[in-house]
Structures are given as C-alpha cells and as structure tokens.
C-alpha cells in the first residue's frame, strides 16, 4: 500500500486544527463517512434531542462507553458542503492538552485515522472542492507572515490566478488551432492570406503575458520571503550600528574597533507592512588573516544573494580611489541604496557622493547618523519605496509556490521560442512549443498532475489543514 495523503479516500480522518499546547479552545475536525455515525452515537446536545440541522453549532456532551466524556460545541457539515467535500464534524473543546487528547482518542477509538499534514486540503482537492492553485493558496495563507502576502494569497483563493491561466490557455489554444489547420491543409486558398501576420501578433502578445506573469511571480517571492537587504561597506563605517538601529534592538555587537563583525548576522524585519531580511556583513577590505578571508568570502556570497545592497559609507572621511573602486565592484548590476553614515561627525563630502552615484547609477541615497538614530525614519521610508518598486506594491504580485514559479518560467521561455519559431516559419516546431505550453498551463491549474506532485504540494501543510 502506498504511504501518504493519497493512500485512501475511504478512511475517516481526524486531527486538531489548533496548534499543540494549552489554548483557550481547541478545535478538532473529523472528515469522512464515519462522521454521521459518530455524531449519532457519541454526541448528545443539551437543548435538543439530536442534531437536526447541519452547519449549526450545538452545545452538548461527547459520550464514551456510557459516560459523558467531554463537553463540547459541535457542528456537523454534510457533504459536499464542507471544507473537504465529505461529511465533517468540527468539535470545539476546552483548551487543555488533556481535553484535546481525549476528543482525538475517542475519534480514533471510533475508527478514525489520524490525518496526515495537508490531508484535509488534499481531500478538498480530490473531491473537486478547489483546484490546485487554490489549494496552494491555502498553504500560503496559513503560512503568510505579512499582510501583503495574505492579501495576495486570498485573491488567489478566489480563483483570480486560475482565471488568468484559463485566459492564457484559451489564447494559446486558439493560435495552436490556427497553426494546425494550416499544417493539415484545412484552409482553403485565400484563408491563409494575412494569417501569418495575425499569428505573429498573437504569439507576441502571449509571450508578453507570460513574461508579465513571471515578473509578478518574482514579486510574489519578495512578498513571501521579504526583500533581502545586505548592509555592505568598509570596516568601521557603522554597518552594525545601522543594522541595530533599523531593528530597534542591539542585535549585533558594535564597537569602535575595526572588524568587530566577523560573521554574517541575519534578522527578519517587518516595517510598514513589508517583509525584509536584513543582513549584516563584515567589512569589505582586503582580507589579511585566514579568519578575515573567510568573513570576506561570506560577505561576497551575501552580496550576490541580496535583492538590495545598502552601501554604507563613513561620511566623515573622504573615499580613496581604491575604496571607491571596491564599492563600485560590489554594487555592479545590483539595486543599491547609498547611505552616508556618521553625519554627526562631519557633513559628507558632496563630491564623493555625487561621483559614486554617477558611477553606480544610483538615485537613492540617504544621510544618517545611526548612533543617534538620525535619518533612520527617512531610511525606512526609502526602503518601503524600493520594496514597492521591486514587488510592484500589493496588487501586481502573484504568490506562487516554488513548483508554480518554475512552471511559469518554463511557460515564459516556451512562449518566446514559439514566437521566434513562427517568425522563421518553422510552424510545426512552434506548434510543439504551444502544445508544451498548454501542458504547462494545465499543470499550473492542477489539471494535469502526477500523484508525486500532489504529495509534495500537500506535504507542505501543517497538521490539521
């Protein structure tokens, strides 16, 4: 027998929906065909003889072996109008660990099986209650850390992303049908005139749409994981002081001694509803000792991974040519925000700032005195602006799983290939790409999935959902 959430649809499954430990109330869900039997045999409502109306809450007692077992609030949901699409019970019990265990054990004794992570949602999917995109959105909502992330996931739960995919699939299908008709010589003379131009335009449009979806997905990653900001600069520029100032706590050790930070320090930070990963790095200077060399290597990796570099410059000193070159090297092809720190000691040299900005092509710069907390508010506003620019605000983003992100990228590259092949009149190959795109779109919508993919998707849930 196969192990996993797809192992058997015939079992009735049970799991608490609330996290372990003591709580105000615990909620336990039962899903499957035993639900009704359990309801009639184990539950006695206080103010009624039996549970007559589904989807209504009843206060009463769960009985076990002829004795009252636990006082609960229970509702019965009849298939298919329940979360899983099966008969379900939702039981609210006292928030103690023992109460929770008592209810679950009673259900297990009644023939239920403990649900695996994601199994309720897997059933909802298998019963046709939601498509795969919606199911993946549920996983996102559950794990959403920020408001922007939650908003996006909710939007997808409503099926907007599915709709968009459906629209693209119909456009691809239309072009494919036309190409196929040409290849099978079904078009009479005259019908193919102007068709080539029309095809090229449709294909170009499809490619643009696919690319836009890819960009939106990349923004979605930002929404979920946060904008990764690496604080980079030379020793003693005040990077760690700035790091602490942004966090509002003394997370990193700071001192006047150069090279205090030897290792990378990473902290998650939510500011103004946006998620950031703040990364403090060691100084950029040429490493001497073995330890410094290792620190420098790690800094380099962090620069590579970052979505945004916060280039911190000691504004109280002028920048040597050598140092400037090193900064330019670090900031090449990256989004950069230049921060002139230590403004309390001396006003930063205007010409240094201007030159660096020109060389790196950076528009964003800010003057701070991190130690005194001056300019930090301005920096926060600036970060929010950059975040919105990169993530496209709340609206232009798409929250996708890694699986979906990969499929979207495949879709975009295939659409470009299809466009170019059609231009070169290699229509049978363009058709091949378009067929591939339809498959990819079906996979994105969960219309074409192997059980391996399903296991992976639902395996990401925590128990109970």
């Amino acid at each position: 027998m196969v192990k996993g959430i797809l192992q058997g649809l015939d079992d009735t499954i049970v799991a608490p929906l609330t996290p372990p430990g003591s709580a105000g109330v615990h909620v336990i869900r039962v899903s499957g065909k035993l639900s009704r039997g359990i309801l009639s045999k184990c539950f006695r409502p206080e103010k009624a003889r039996r549970v007559k109306t589904p989807w209504r809450q009843y206060l009463g007692w769960l009985w076990r072996g002829g004795t009252p077992h636990e006082k609960v609030v229970l509702s019965y949901m009849r298939e298919p109008r329940s979360y899983t699409g099966e008969d379900c019970l939702e039981i609210h019990c006292h928030g103690g660990v023992a109460s929770r265990r008592a209810v679950v054990e009673l259900m297990l004794a009644r023939g239920c099986r403990a649900a695996l992570p994601g199994e309720f949602t897997a059933r909802a999917f298998l019963r046709g209650k939601m498509d795969l995109v919606q199911a993946e959105a549920v996983a996102e909502i559950v794990s959403a850390a920020s408001e922007a992330n939650r908003q996006q996931a909710l939007k997808q739960l409503r099926g907007e992303f599915s709709q968009e995919l459906l629209g693209l699939a119909s456009a691809v299908g239309g072009v494919l049908a036309e190409i196929e008709a040409r290849l099978d010589l079904l078009l009479g003379e005259g019908e193919s005139a102007g068709a080539a131009g029309r095809l090229a335009r449709s294909l170009a449009k499809i490619a643009r749409q696919a690319a836009a979806m890819c960009r939106a997905a990349r923004r979605g990653v930002l929404l979920r994981q946060g904008l990764r900001c690496a604080i980079v600069g030379f020793s003693n520029a005040g990077k760690s002081t700035l790091f602490n100032a942004l966090l509002g706590e003394d997370r990193a050790i700071t001192s006047a001694q150069r090279g205090t930070t030897r290792d990378v320090v990473i902290e998650r930070l939510e500011m103004m509803g946006r998620q950031y990963l703040l990364v403090d790095t060691a100084g950029l200077e040429l490493a001497g000792s073995k330890l410094e060399r290792m620190a420098a290597e790690r800094s380099e990796i962090e620069i590579e991974r970052a979505d945004l570099l916060l280039l911190v410059i000691d504004g109280s000193r002028s920048l040597s040519k050598k140092k400037e070159a090193a900064l330019v090297r670090a900031g090449k092809d990256k989004t950069v925000l230049v921060i002139y720190n230590k403004a309390d000691l001396r006003r930063p040299l205007a010409k240094d700032a201007a030159r660096l900005a020109v060389v790196l092509g950076v528009k964003d710069k800010v003057v701070t005195a991190a130690k005194q907390g001056r300019g930090i508010a301005a920096l926060r506003r600036m970060l929010a602006g950059i975040f919105d620019r990169e993530a496209g605000g709340y609206s232009g983003a798409l929250v996708v799983s890694e699986r979906q992100g990969e499929l979207l990228r495949a879709l975009a590259t295939a659409s470009v290939r299809a466009r170019d092949l059609a231009r070169r009149e290699q229509e049978e190959l363009a058709a091949e790409e378009l067929r591939g795109m339809l498959e990819t779109l079906a996979a994105l919508r969960g219309e074409k999935v192997s059980d391996g993919v399903l296991e992976e998707i639902f395996g990401r849930f925590c128990v109970g959902k």
């Binding site: 649809l9 999917f125 298998l126 019963r127 046709g128 290849l183 049978e428 219309e447 059980d451």
Partner: protein, 623 residues
Amino acid sequence: MRKNESYEVIVIGAGHAGCEAALAGARAGLSTLLLTVNLDAVARVSCNPAIGGTGKGQLVCEIDALGGEMARAADACGIQFRLLNTSKGAAVQAPRAQIDRRGYAAYMRQVVEKQSGLVAQQGEVTEIITGAGRFRGVRLRAGEVVRGKRCVLTSGTFLGGMIHLGLTSYPGGRDGETACSELSTCLRHLGFELGRLKTGTSPRLQGDSVDYRKMKEQLGDLAAPRFFSRDTESISREQISCHITYTGQATHRLIKRHLDKSPLFTGRISGIGPRYCPSIETKVTRFSDKPRHQLFIEPEGNTAAEVYVNGLATSLPQDVQRKMLKTIPGLQDAIITRPGYAVEYDYCPPYQLRASLESKQVAGLYFAGQINGTSGYEEAAAQGIIAGINCAHSLRGEKPLVLGRGEAYIGVMIDDLITKSTEEPYRVFSARAEYRLSLRCDNAARRLLKHGAAAGLIAPAAARRQTREEKRLAEERRRLSGTHIGAKQAVKLGCVKSDAGKTAWELLKRPEVSCAVLARLWPKRERLSGREAEQLEVEAKYEGYLKRQRQEIERLREGENFRLPRDIDYQSLTFLRLESREKLARVKPETIGQASRISGVNPVDTVRLMVHVRSGLAGGKKR
C-alpha cells in the same frame, strides 16, 4: 460448401480494411476466409481516386512497415504523386497520390487471390453466431454456417446502408450495390449499440466533355516522386495531371435555391457527416462569405474515360447537379456519368472495443474500418491490418499488438476511437498526433517493422536488412558527432570560419547543411542511401524536440501499464464526479492512461481512481 468447414479467421467484407485484415491473417499463417457480397468489388476505391495526404500518408507508410499491402498497391497504381507541405518541416510533409481506380482494385484482387492460406468467397453474412460470449461462426444468406475461431467485421457503409440522391432514397451500400440489414439486427441482439453516420461523394464526369483550357493544370512531382512503400524504387505507369477550377457566386446561389431538395437540409439524413470533408451544400451555407470554392478535376486512371470532381460532394438531385456544373468554368458542357450521392449507414461506436480492436462484448470478434466510425481508405486499411495481426496473436495466446500514441499514427487513431468514441466520421490528421515529430514516414520502418516481423508479416530477410540499416545509421551518427570540423572544411560546407571546432552533427542541424553537403568533405566515403540520409538529417534538425518527446512518451507508458480491473463498479464510486462515473462505466477503460483520455472524465478523478485502485479497494478479485 461443406457445412462443417472451419477457418481460423473469417473476415467479413473485402474493402480496404477487409483486404488488409485477411492478408495479415493469411500471412501470419492462419487459415483465412474472406467473405464479400460481390467478389468483383474487392478493394473498391469508392470515393475520390486518391490515397495519402496529411496524416493519411503516414498511415500508409505505417501499414507498409507492418507488412501490409496498401502502400505497394498505391505505388503500383499511382498516376500522380505529390509530396504535400514541402515548404514545412519534414514531420508534417506527407505523400499523396492519385491512383488508377480500376487498376487499384484489380491489383488488390490479384494479391488476395494469390495469397496462400487465403480463400476469397462471395457470400452475404446475415448472422454472427456466438456461444458463451465467444465468436463461433457466421451464417450466410443461403443458410450455410461457416465456423471460425476469430472474425474481423469490416462492413463499411453496407450495414443498413441507405443511398440518398435528392429526395429519393433507397437501400444500398454503395451506388449499384445492395445493403445488408440483417447483420445490424444481429449486432443489436448481441448487445452492441449502433449509431448512424453519413458520407457523400462527388459526381463523375465524362472526361472528354471537360474543357481543360479554362482550368489551371496541376502537375505531380515528376522529378523525384515520393512513394509510399519502402520497397518501391521506381514506377512505370504514365503520369497524369489534375486540373483546378472554382465554383462561383452563381453556383452558390443555385445551391441555396435548391436546398429544399437536399436530403441533408430537409432532415431526411439524420446521420452525422464528416466535418472535414463537407458536402458542397454544407460548405456554401457554412462559409457563405466565401466567394468561391476550389475544385480538383482528378483523372480516374490511365485508360479511364471518367474524371472525378474532388470538392463537389453532393446529394442534391441529378438535374441540380447538372445545372451546378453549368456555372463552373470548364464544366459548362460536362456530361455526368454518375451523379454524386450520400450514403447513410450504421456504425458501432468504438468505445465498445479494446485497444486490440476486439469487441468487449463478444470475444474473438474484431471490428475494423468504417463500422468503427472512421472515414478514409487509409484509416480503414490501418485498422484492418491491426485486427488481422491481433487475431493471430490471440490464437497463439500472445499479447495483442497495441501501438502507443508515441509509436504510430495507427496508435493515435485507435486510442482516439476507443477513448473518445467518435460521433462523426473520424479522419486522421497530423494534429491528432501529439508526438508527430517522432512519427514520420521516413522512420516508419524503424518504428514498426519489428511488430510486423513478430506477427509473421515481414520476411526475415527484410527484418535483417532493417537491422543493418539501423546499425549503419547509428554508426554514421556517432561518426558525425565525433568529427570536429576545421576552418577550411567549414568554408567548403558553405559555413563560416568561426564554425570551426563544431562537430559535423552540429552543423547538420542547420537548414542549409544536408548529408549530401557533408559528403563533400569525404568524397571517397560510401554515401548513405537517400532514405538513410533523410532520417539522419531530420533527426539532427529536430534533435532537442525528439529527445523531449521520447521522455514524454516514456512517462505516458506508466499510465498505459497501470491496468484497471475489468470488474470495477464505477457507479458505486461516489467520490467520482457523476459525469466521470457515467463515462467510465460506459467505456470501461483497460488502463488508467485510457481513462485519462476519455472526454468528460475529470483529470482529478483519474488520480482518485488510481488512488482507489492502488489502495486495493477496487476489483473483487483482489480482495
């Protein structure tokens, strides 16, 4: 005829499906009886006198690779060969030939008569005799019974055939031939569901009454014609041109005025016609904005006086057909020798078949050709040879030959038939084959010859020749991949110096480089044959796509190998959607792969069914 006469295979019907089925059976070493209502009407080309076309041409090459006859017959009787889609890539190019109508039938009859182990007899089958759910024999019109172990039914348009010409209609399987009605009743009694389809044909004209000066001549590929069979090297028949003319607004007005006399538009024909080969009435009404429709005047043969008007299929009355011709350039004075007509007939919706073409209802009874809802000679012949081969496999107790969708157009067609169960005449297209880049004429033998050899239809010498060819190709491919091109050589090939360092195989991928061009580098080396060179070039140019298709085909196989128990009670699986349940219960798919392709079966339901079967819940035998 002796009463207890018995054959291993009885083939009913001697059309294109029947001939291939009977030949396959006999060549596989089975005692075979071919029964036909009229022994003078073997392998009749009853509609347009042409074989091949997109998708269909590939089918003919596949029949050839399996050891069938159609390709050789078409080559021997071809009077105009054309390779279609030459401006497109190799995978969508397809051979097509006009053929000598009488010559084709005569050729085929001779092959059938000369085939050892095969008896061709005249006789109308009125009943299929079964016992314990198995085929036992057939009863003929005069009452005799012929016993047999396997049967291939290829009834074409003859089951309950009804001919329509204007508002007149009369029973008939084809113009001038009688229909069979008892057999339809018999099939219904055996539990088969029957449906009704329609097909039409064009008028034929007296050739010397046509004015060709008003038409455009269409020549065949005279220089290097493309043949269907791998064995054909040259032909001796004289080649003839076709001619092109057009209908006009006057024609369309006339047709619209007389629609009240069309059996199609007055509701006299209930059967559904072929969407891709519509009658002129349908074309004129459906595409009313088109100013004209193209017509091909096709010669019927080297010595035939008649010509065929391809594109003018009609069932309007004869006098309207005559008036119609008066409005068409070049046909004003044409004399009709046989009017166009429509024929309506019974077919057996093919969901009732297994992938082997054996019926699910009666063991040992196979269906092939138009009875399965297909249209076209090539489609019929392809099913015929598969049914014949599977009779042989079944009698030997071997697994049936089921070609995959990634293996052959034949596989695509049969899979479409049994899972989608066509409701209109089914024609093969290249678009139906999702792996068409891999399913080409040039590699048909490489794909299928082994199956023909396994069934006994291919001589061992031919199989050895094929093995040698494949070895040679693999060697040459290895050599080209391992040969790096120098700067001077690159220039010699018409490439640029900077191409130096690339392998010969990489350069072969370019449109302008062929095997012949590469051969300039090694003038002393023995050259590949034309067919070998073609295979190598196509494979180089399509390489990335072919690789991807191989992977997909491999994945597809998993679904085909996941067998579903025959006794699943789909109606009881309440966790499946209602529509899925109904479709699955009707079709009773053999594999999860088939189930996933049934239209109306929700993909999620396929996964659920798989989960259900795998967890041991389905199938009484398992528990």
